[in-house]
Symmetry: C2
Subunit: 440 residues, 2 copies
């Protein structure tokens, strides 16, 4: 306890303060949203936007939270604020994994397969439609930009970030609705397809864009990426239940407290890690982990804890999940809305992005499913879109960056709008009477 005699404030002081600030704003924002009949995640997003744009009001004390593992290169560990930024980012990432794990728990593999065909068609349509629409609008608005940019903007609109949708379904207590199953299943397939599209497009831009005449793309790495991704999903579904059953069996003979929640976290984070090894998003792994867990596997442990797993996970999720959505909002840069030319491009891309995903709702095979809800659920681009926009900045065609600042901002705005628009739209669509198209 003596450290502080010298550094006077403890190295974790900034972390503690940021956690306090984030929890408070998340709770106030979420509560306000609910009080006007919106899902609390919308309030958390907007509260995050507010926190992240206090710089516009000359308040810069929270800028250290903008630390981003994937972008910044080095940081001064003597500066505890940087560590706080990294730690908050880590808590946010763990938060979204826990959320997808919880949603997975409320569904099961068998139920997912029941809607598998719908998910497949929704995912395929959800890639094709935004791709076409994105390319078309890019071609119309920026004819002189050349096809690599058209291609990239088309691909950029394929992204799907299911975190928001999962959270809205959870906020409305409909995580086990058939629409939720279809969207989540589609998001998993979408993740595999997006991986492929992204690789192809990048390959084409790098080979052709660099002026080389040959249009051949090396198919081997492409097949490898695809095989790894699909391989993970197959293994997770086939071996996953055995692995978890074994883990719970071991845990149930151990001494100690909290073994159920710890075993569950090991499975959740373990699967997320495995997914990332397969080149998939960790949250695909966390969702898969939730899917394959069945109560029967941990009956003994429930008996010891006197409490079902989802109740044990809730306090942890109540703590970390809002951190993810606050930080997602935090990264929204309102100043990018200043440029009219940017706004115009953003508006068109946003329409394409939304239309493209709404269309995919008609990939649903089952009768009696609210296709609009499914389509709306596929709209958010979230952190995936931001990551993709960042990749666009790093790509160069004939030495020139593929994206100029304006196009990048437009893409970022599109991502923001598709993300923030979904909670209210989804809430409206879930609570209104089903349209004729769905009851057919």
């Amino acid at each position: 306890m003596l450290a502080d005699a010298f550094s006077h404030t403890s190295p974790i002081a900034p972390l503690l303060l940021s956690i306090v600030v984030i929890i408070l704003t998340a709770r106030l924002g979420g509560s306000l949203a609910e009080s006007v009949g919106q899902p609390s995640v919308l309030g958390e997003l907007l509260a995050g936007v507010l926190l992240g744009n206090l710089t516009l009001l000359g308040f810069h004390q929270l800028e250290f939270l903008r630390v981003d593992w994937t972008h910044q290169t080095t940081l001064d560990l003597k500066d505890a604020k940087h560590c706080a930024g990294v730690a908050i980012d880590a808590l946010a990432q763990l938060g979204v994994l826990l959320l997808l794990f919880q949603v997975g728990l409320e569904n099961s593999v068998t139920r997912m397969f029941r809607v598998g065909l719908s998910s497949l068609f929704v995912a395929i349509l959800g890639i094709l439609a935004p791709f076409m629409l994105g390319m078309a609008s890019a071609y119309v608005l920026l004819p002189s930009a050349g096809w690599p940019l058209h291609l990239f903007l088309g691909a950029a609109l394929c992204a799907t970030s299911v975190g928001i949708t999962a959270r809205v379904f959870e906020d409305l207590g409909q995580s086990d609705a058939i629409e939720a199953e279809i969207v989540l299943g589609a998001a998993v397939i979408d993740d595999v397809l997006a991986l492929i599209v992204l690789s192809v497009v990048q390959g084409m831009i790098l080979t052709l864009g660099s002026g080389s005449s040959t249009s051949t793309i090396d198919a081997v790495p492409l097949l490898l990426i695809t095989a790894k991704a699909i391989g993970f999903l197959v293994l997770a579904i086939l071996l996953g239940p055995r692995i978890s059953r074994q883990l719970f069996k071991v845990a149930s003979i151990l001494h100690g407290r909290g073994l159920l929640v710890c075993s569950a976290l090991v499975i959740c984070f373990g699967f997320a890690w495995a997914a990332s090894l397969a080149g998939l998003a960790p949250l695909v792994g966390a969702f898969a982990a939730g899917l394959i867990l069945e109560r029967v596997q941990y009956r003994e442990l429930i008996a010891r804890e006197h409490r079902p797993l989802h109740e044990l996970l809730r306090p942890i999720a109540d703590f970390v999940v809002p951190i993810f959505f606050i930080m997602m909002g935090f990264r929204v840069d309102l100043s990018s809305f200043a440029d009219v030319r940017v706004l115009w491009l953003a508006a068109v891309l946003t329409v394409a992005a939304i239309a493209g995903k709404i269309i995919c709702g008609w990939g649903v095979q089952q009768p009696g499913v609210n296709r609009l809800t499914v389509g709306l659920g596929m709209i958010p681009r979230g952190e995936v879109g931001l990551i993709f926009a960042g990749i666009g900045l790093s790509l160069r065609v004939n030495g020139q960056p593929l994206l100029d600042a304006a196009t990048f901002s437009a893409l970022v705005i599109t991502v923001m709008l598709t993300t923030v628009a979904v909670p209210p739209l989804l809430k409206w669509s879930l609570t209104r009477r089903k349209p004729p198209s769905a009851s057919s």
Copy 2:
């Protein structure tokens, strides 16, 4: 979800893997310890020692966890492993705060005051005795080293790290025992006293050690440090309950889920932050926060959550608390046990360190208290001792570093032994019949 198409493994992959590894080893270690009748924290510590010394077996994959905010200077954020190290360290720090908060919840300010006098005497004896013994043994073993080192080694043995003790009392379900109250109260006072001793000793070493003739130490900063520390404790006890009552009142009118656990975390981390501002250890703040919280303050919220606060905190604690003790063990460097000369010095210092704190148990005023338990509870130096040893390395006398490598290692070994020895000793002392001295 597309990030991975390029970085192929997600930036949080190393974090996920380390969490999985840490949870598994903590659980296995804890279970083994319990199966041989020891507190599980001992097993977690030893499991941590094992993980941290795999390098001796040529396994270096976990070295990135050695990232330490207070020691390392910069880190490469492109290297996700460094971020994982920072994040794990952060989780460990939050873990020990939660632990002290939980222990605080099981006690109350009024009960702490009931044993206040005992705590005060225990704390004072717990500073004086180790200081004298430490200086004496340093003087005998290293007569030529000069008084600054003697002084420093004496002061180094004053440190108290109450995390281990709190955890042992919790493992044995005796967090509300009078011995626990006295030790924890003493630890809080000890933190203030140690702050003063440390400042005085450093001042003397810097002024005198540097060869300057005047032995005057500027009293103003010293008084300031003391005033801030005491000021925080007084304010926390006087205003704390009002602040928390107001926060809970606001929370109870908010919409949303998990408001009780989030409000509690805000108070825990908020007080910890305030304590660090006052130059105290954050865990003193977290403990104070737990002390001042009373059920009456959050009656409405309990009614909404249908569950008491300590049950909501348990899953979070079950996840993060073991991370702290694993990492504490992780930092134990077994290779430092190789040098016989070092071991000899370490042995003597350890005897002084243990004897000094056992003596302080006789500061207890109440009859019927197990004085030996109190003394044993004050023994652990833990992370505080390590931090102090690090400070010793940074001090220079006439241009020479105060501590040479051998003395530093000896000090570190002393810290380790005092830390690892306590769980079994405390368990033995708590479960055996009270000695005559206690029933007087």
